[in-house]
């Protein structure tokens, strides 16, 4: 090679390298920062369970909820990031001064996935089906206001009026979970009393029509649901392009979480519908560093696990051990547990220490100035001594006044590594103040059965919360609620502080003044932190893993974590998840 050509070759190589570098840097990175989303393409997501119905009114488990959000649409939607109610099938609304009458204007020109127009008659039909006793909808109770149904009336084809039976603080946000159903497809089934079976999982997919971004194309039981773009979908992006961007969305049914992770790692899935476990982050971080997956932290969970004791008055467990129901025991436990150790050891740092079930992700409802008492073993021992629990044998373990050991059993979920490991840490840490804890790991059905029968000492578990507004979760906060963990379904409040909480929550849930609602709920939280009927230790940070090709994802801490805005998801051009 002539020497004089070397500078030319070197220049060409340098320019090529520079172009390559710039191209790599400008290439679409996480969340698609570089260019407009590409239309078309396929995305594969995994889900752990499969639906038992294609109708959310009939079955309201997580699989049905996800499918409903993908194939159906509500009148209004709660934005999972801002918590605000957004116009959806209703383009606008007005409300009366008393908050009882809501008038909705429906979008014009909206059609179902089979091309039939969407009108006010479909809204009226949906409410008729929801409250029909023959349907027995699992959604009906969450769409009643103080146990009374919402009335509905069509004014014209594009105007409906909803009548609330009483003032309701969260307002129309509860409509987020109600998909509008096609009257022309389901009215005969409702009239004949066959509504519950009309959209069963054996119904041909072409019969399932909706107003969502996708339409069901194929269901292979135990394998996958195939969704294809709804050509009649009504939404457009800011540039006027038709949504959804994706042509096809596959929901692979993968019941086992390790297998789900392996699929993501191998590129055979683009995202999982559940969050990443802390122990899996170590596996995924190198892949994220290599640009093969994206790891996005959505925030702190709104459903931290918590410990509660059976506070049912006269419960068998408390007859011989009345100290189990003493507030001093709960305060001592809260003081004795090293929350940072749980965060660092169990959650490997991927959590925040918490002192309440209301976490920072509850937004306006979170009280940052709540007291966070530091760990204090001496004070914990003093509190236990005040209820007669002392070390009578000098062996470091406490006994009650009758010389019976200070011992209780703690039920937790078998197979749930975070709960099992936390329970083991609680056992170890409470031993330091002389309490003996017998951890019993069982399946969720057994926990719920023991909870319902009230045959337990203490439970370490969680209940899913799909809304951050406390008035949507009255089952937990009010003494009559089935999820008032420590003493559920009370005819009248068993204690003065629960009566106070009931009164505050009643006012909080009926007030229409946001500031007053926040003030009342702050009072509720202060009562809760004083009485500690539930004790929380750590709330995990919700991290979502997606393949590098996914664009437009805005993960939320509320389910479904990513697919709540599936119509604006897109994929980078190129090889996708391989299909068999």
């Amino acid at each position: 090679m002539p020497i004089k050509r070397l500078p030319v070759i070197a220049t060409v190589v340098a320019v090529a390298a520079a172009i390559f570098f710039v191209w790599r840097q400008a290439g679409p990175g996480p969340h698609g920062r570089a260019s407009a989303p590409a239309s078309g393409g396929e995305l594969v997501a995994t889900m752990r369970t499969e639906p038992k119905s294609f109708d959310r009114l009939v079955s309201s488990r997580s699989a049905e909820e996800l499918l409903s959000r993908l194939t159906q649409a509500p009148l209004v939607r709660v934005n999972r990031l801002t918590g605000q109610v957004e116009p959806w099938l209703a383009s606008s609304w007005t409300t009366s001064a008393d908050g009882l009458t809501w008038t909705f204007k429906l979008r014009e020109g909206v059609t179902f996935s089979d091309g039939a127009p969407f009108t006010a008659a479909d809204v009226v039909f949906t409410f008729d089906a929801l409250y029909d006793p023959k349907v027995g909808s699992e959604e009906a109770s969450s769409l009643r206001i103080h146990d009374q149904p919402i009335s509905v009336r069509a004014v014209d084809d594009h105007t409906v009026v909803l009548g609330f039976p009483s003032a309701f603080g969260p307002g129309i946000s509860l409509l987020d979970s109600l998909p509008m159903l096609p009257r022309h497809k389901l009215q005969d089934a409702l009239a004949a009393g066959r509504f519950a079976d009309a959209w069963s999982v054996t119904t041909p997919p072409a019969e399932i029509v909706g107003l969502g971004p996708f339409a069901l194309s194929e269901y292979r039981p135990g394998e996958r649901l195939v969704l294809v773009r709804n050509p009649h979908y009504w939404r457009r992006d800011a540039d006027g392009r038709a949504l959804p961007y994706l042509d096809r969305l596959d929901l692979d049914i993968v019941p086992e979480q390790d297998a789900e992770l392996l699929r993501l790692q191998s590129g055979q899935a683009d995202l999982t519908t559940s969050e990443v476990r802390p122990e899996d982050l170590a596996v995924l971080k190198p892949l994220a560093d290599a640009g093969r997956v994206q790891l996005v932290t959505a925030g702190v969970s709104t459903s931290p696990d918590c410990l509660w004791f059976n506070l049912t008055p006269g419960a068998a467990v408390a007859k011989t051990r009345p100290w189990l129901q003493a507030v001093e025991l709960r305060r001592a436990i809260s003081l004795a547990v090293d929350r940072d150790a749980i965060v660092n050891t169990v959650f490997l740092g991927a959590a925040e220490p918490v002192w309440s079930p209301v976490t920072p992700s509850h937004g306006e409802w979170y009280l940052p100035d709540q007291p966070h008492p530091a760990r204090d073993l001496a004070e914990a021992r003093r509190l236990l001594a005040s209820i007669g629990l002392t070390d009578r044998h000098g062996d470091g373990l406490l006994e009650d006044a009758a010389d019976r050991p200070a011992r209780f059993s703690l039920l937790t979920q078998k197979g749930h590594s975070l709960r099992e490991r936390t329970a083991a840490m609680l056992q170890e840490q409470l031993k330091q103040i002389g309490l003996t804890v017998d951890v019993v790991a069982v399946d969720p059905q057994t926990i719920i059965a023991r909870y319902t029968d009230r045959s337990y000492d203490a439970i370490y578990f969680v209940a899913p919360s799909d809304s951050i507004d406390p008035a949507r979760n009255l089952d937990f906060w009010m003494s009559r609620g089935a999820f008032h963990y420590w003493n559920a379904s009370q005819a009248s409040p068993a204690t003065a502080w629960e009566a106070t909480m009931d009164d505050l929550m009643r006012r909080q849930s009926t007030s229409l003044d946001p500031a007053e609602r926040r003030r009342l709920f702050a009072e509720v939280q202060r009562t809760l932190s004083t009485e500690l009927p539930v004790i929380c230790f750590a709330a995990p940070r919700i991290t979502i893993a997606m393949s590098a090709r996914v664009r437009g994802a805005t993960p939320s801490v509320l389910p479904p974590l990513v697919l709540w805005n599936a119509d604006t998801l897109s994929v980078a051009p190129g090889r996708g998840a391989s299909r068999p």
Partner: protein
């Protein structure tokens, strides 16, 4: 075996099989009933109100006494109606029918793979029990045998992840079939190896060799054919292994077969689904046992009905 004796044998074995099926399915129904919680327990977690849960319990017949439930279920079974699954909202007979086919597909593939691997390996290792080849294969077989199929399934999935050679998408049979086939191939290899060694050590083999039979024909035709008989005797065990192994393998690899359906039924406290799966599993195992015994009788004239 006389035809009359055979008929008596078959009738007796069928009666025993029916008793097995009855005990297994009624036992499954009872166990689900005794387990804490029921099919509506997860509705509590979904915040469904108590009245709806009570209506659901009544609709699913969970509020009946166990004996009434059992009587109704048995009456239904007589008409091939296995009840309705609470977890899937569909007739159990339809679900089981679909999933039995998927498990049969997986099991057939696993069986073919296991026989294709295990049989020739067993003949080869049995022909020279102390040889280098046998010394290498035997520990591998024993290692695989002592490894539960669920561990094998995870191992294969990791292999698929590391190499990209195998697909792990739901519905792809390669990984689950291999996970089921490998322990089975090891079983077949061990049984066939021992039987081949015994046949070759018997005087008949020496006589055949003395008559000038080529060694390959002696090994692959005479010895292998005689040695396969013990395998037929464990046919029922093999099908049982496939069925029990499929429970874990189908769960891990997302294969929509009978094992995963049974698991879903147990987790969901779905009494009729669990009973239906147990019933069909018991029928399969009983049928395989009977078929294995009959095949052994036909293949080995020394076997007599006693």
């Amino acid at each position: 075996m006389t035809s009359g004796g055979l008929a008596t044998f078959v009738v007796r074995r069928l009666a025993a099989a029916m008793a097995l099926v009855a005990v297994v399915s009624v036992g499954a129904l009872l166990l689900v009933r005794l387990a804490p919680g029921d099919a509506t327990t997860d509705l509590v977690l979904a915040h469904v109100d108590e009245a709806t849960i009570a209506r659901t319990r009544a609709r699913l017949g969970l509020d009946r006494p166990f004996l009434v439930e059992l009587g109704d279920w048995l009456a239904g079974v007589a008409h091939l109606d296995l009840g309705e699954s609470s977890a899937f909202g569909r007739p159990v007979a339809d679900l089981v029918g679909e999933r039995v086919l998927k498990t049969a597909e997986l099991a057939s593939l696993a069986l073919v793979l296991a026989v294709a691997l295990g049989l020739p390996l067993g003949v080869l290792t049995g022909s020279r029990p102390g040889g280098l080849f046998a010394s290498c294969v035997a520990p591998i077989s024993i290692g695989i045998l002592s490894c539960p199929p669920i561990v094998g399934a995870f191992g294969l999935m990791l292999l698929a992840l590391g190499t990209g050679w195998l697909s792990i998408a739901p519905g792809d049979p390669v990984v689950p079939a291999l996970a089921l086939a490998l322990p089975l191939a090891a079983t077949i290899e061990r049984v066939q190896s021992q039987a081949t060694a015994e046949v070759l050590a018997a005087p008949g083999a020496g006589a055949a060799a003395a008559r000038g039979l080529p060694p390959w024909r002696l090994l692959w035709v005479h010895a292998a054919r005689q040695a396969v008989r013990p395998l037929l005797g464990v046919a029922g065990v093999i099908v049982g292994t496939l069925f029990s192994g499929s429970l874990a393998v189908e769960w891990v690899t997302s294969w929509p077969g009978l094992g995963r359906l049974l698991y879903d039924g147990i987790v969901g406290r779905d009494p009729f689904l669990v009973a239906g799966c147990a019933l069909s599993g018991a029928v399969l195992i009983a049928a395989a046992n009977l078929a294995g015994d009959l095949a052994r009788g036909l293949a080995d004239p020394r076997v007599r009905v006693s």
